[in-house]
Symmetry: C2
C-alpha cells in the first residue's frame, strides 16, 4: 500500500528511484521532492520522479502523510528532528541511510507524539549519483532492512513495510546494531577495500587493467563525502571487520612467503565457496 | 594474419574463445585442440572451437604451424619443452599464461633451432571456466601483452603480433619482469583481495549482500588450482604490492581510529580519482 502523499527528502539516485517507482505503482500519489540543490530538483521534475520541488523542508513535509529521508547519513537525524514539528499528527517518517545505530539512537524518544519513525535501508544503489540515473525498478527483488526498536510505533512499521513491498522489495527486520554489524562486512568494508586497491594503482598501469580489476574497484567511484560519513558512522564495527580482513591477508602473506601452496589453495577455495553461495541467494 | 593450421593446447575458456575467434576470421584455418580432458575436447568440438581433438600433445603439434598454450601457468614451460621436438622447423609457439617471467626464463635458449617462442598474455577472461563459456569476441579491443626478450625470433614475434591483432586485440610489448610487476597489482592482488573478502563473509550474512559486495568479490569464483599457480609464480611481486595495500589499509585504519575524517575523505578521493581514470582507458 502506498501513501496518498509522499515527500522525498534528497532527490539523488535513491530518492529519484523511489519517486519513479511510486509513480509507476500509484499514479495518484502526490510526490514532492525536497533538496537544497535546485538543479537536482529540476532534474527530478524532468524525470517525473516528483511533481513538485521544495528547498524548504518544513513546507514540504507539512502537506505529506509519508516522508522518506534519502540524505547523507550524517544529516538524516538532524533533518528529521527539524522536520517533525512541521508534520501533521499521523505522519510516518522513515529513511534510507546506510547506517542505522546512530540515526535510530539520536531520534529515540525525541519526536513529537503522533509522529512515527522507522529506520530503514534499501540494499540497492549504484556508484552513480543524481536523479538522472534513477530507475523505477531499482528496488525490485532487493532487500530493504527496517530497524524497529521497542519504542517504534507498530502502525508506522506496517506502513513502511507495505511501502517498500509495494515497490517490489523484500523487507527484513534487524536491530539497528545487527544491521550495522552486518553492513560493516557486506558493504562498508568492500567500499574501503575497493578504494584502497584503486588508490594504490600507479596511473601508468591503468591501461593494463582488465575486467577483474574494474569489477573489484567499481564501487570506489562512489561519492567520497557520502562514504566518509558512512564509514565514520559505523567505524567501530568497520574497524572490527577490517581487522578480520587484515588477518586473512596475513594468512595469504605467510602462505605465499613459505610457498605453502596447499594453504594458498585452501584460502582461495574458502573464498570461492563463499562467493559461489551468493549466486544461490536472491 | 592468421595461420593455416593452429593447435590450441588447453581448450578452456581462453583456448575455446581463441578457436571461435580464429574460425570467425579465417574459416580455412585448420584448428586442432589438445587437452587431457576428453570431455573438454568434446565440448570444444561441439561449440565449433576446434575441428579435431587430441589427447596426445606431440601428435597435435606435428601438423600445425602455430601452437598456442592455454594451460595453467605451472605446466606451460614443461609442455612447450615436451612439444618442441615434435614440431616442424618454422613452427611458432606462444602462450596465454598470466605470469611471464618464470615461463620465458625456463624456455630461453632451450628450444630446438627453427622453433620460435614468444611469451604472451591476453588481458581477457572470466571467472567462468570451460569451452562452453567461450566467446568469439573475447579479445576484441582487449590488450594482449607480448614479452619478447633479446633472444626472441623477430619473425615469430611478428606472427604472434599479427595473430592477436587479427582477433581484434591491441598488442603491447613489455619485458617479462615489467609484465609480472604490472599484473601483480592489476590482476593478482585483486584476486587475492576478492578471495579474502569473500572468505571472511559469515554465511548467515550472504542474504544481506548487494551489488557492491558481489562486484568486489566476483573474481573470487575463479578456479583455486589455477590461481594458486598464478599467485605462486608471481609471489615476490605480489608480496610487494600486498605490502602496499596493507599500508593503505593501515592509513584508513588510523584515520578511522582518530576520527580524522578529512584524511578518510582524502583516501576515498584518491581511490575515486584512480577508478574514474579507468573509464577513460580503452
Amino acid at each position: 500500500m502506498l501513501p496518498r502523499s509522499l515527500a522525498i527528502v534528497g532527490v539523488g539516485l535513491i530518492g529519484g528511484s523511489v519517486g519513479l517507482a511510486v509513480r509507476r505503482q500509484s499514479p495518484a500519489t502526490h510526490i514532492v521532492g525536497v533538496d537544497r540543490d535546485a538543479g537536482a530538483l529540476g532534474r527530478a521534475l524532468e524525470r517525473g520522479a516528483i511533481v513538485e520541488g521544495f528547498t524548504n523542508l518544513a513546507d514540504a513535509v507539512a502537506c505529506c502523510e509519508f516522508v522518506l529521508f534519502c540524505t547523507p547519513v550524517d544529516t538524516i537525524a538532524q533533518q528529521i528532528l527539524a522536520a517533525a514539528p512541521a508534520c501533521k499528527p499521523g505522519t510516518t517518517l522513515t529513511d534510507a541511510g546506510s547506517t542505522k545505530g546512530a540515526i535510530v539512537g539520536a531520534l529515540n524518544g525525541r519526536l513529537p507524539s503522533g509522529i512515527g519513525f522507522v529506520g530503514g535501508h534499501p540494499l540497492a544503489g549504484s556508484e552513480k549519483q543524481g536523479p538522472e540515473h534513477a530507475e523505477a525498478g531499482l528496488f525490485v527483488d532487493r532487500v530493504v532492512v527496517l530497524t524497529p526498536v521497542a519504542e517504534t510505533d507498530r502502525g508506522a512499521l506496517n506502513l513502511v513495510t507495505s511501502f517498500w513491498q509495494a515497490l517490489g522489495a523484500n523487507v527484513r527486520q534487524l536491530s539497528p546494531e545487527a544491521h550495522d554489524r552486518a553492513l560493516a562486512v557486506t558493504s562498508h568494508l568492500p567500499h574501503l577495500l575497493a578504494s584502497a586497491l584503486a588508490g594504490i594503482l600507479p596511473a601508468e598501469l591503468a591501461s593494463l587493467t582488465a575486467s577483474g580489476f574494474r569489477d573489484t574497484t567499481r564501487i570506489a567511484s562512489g561519492d567520497p563525502a557520502l562514504w566518509t560519513a558512512i564509514l565514520s558512522a559505523n567505524r567501530s564495527e568497520l574497524l572490527e571487520v577490517l581487522g578480520k580482513l587484515e588477518e586473512r591477508l596475513g594468512e595469504f602473506r605467510r602462505a605465499l612467503e613459505k610457498q605453502d601452496l596447499e594453504n594458498v589453495r585452501n584460502l582461495l577455495s574458502a573464498g570461492r565457496t563463499s562467493r559461489m553461495s551468493l549466486q544461490r541467494n536472491p
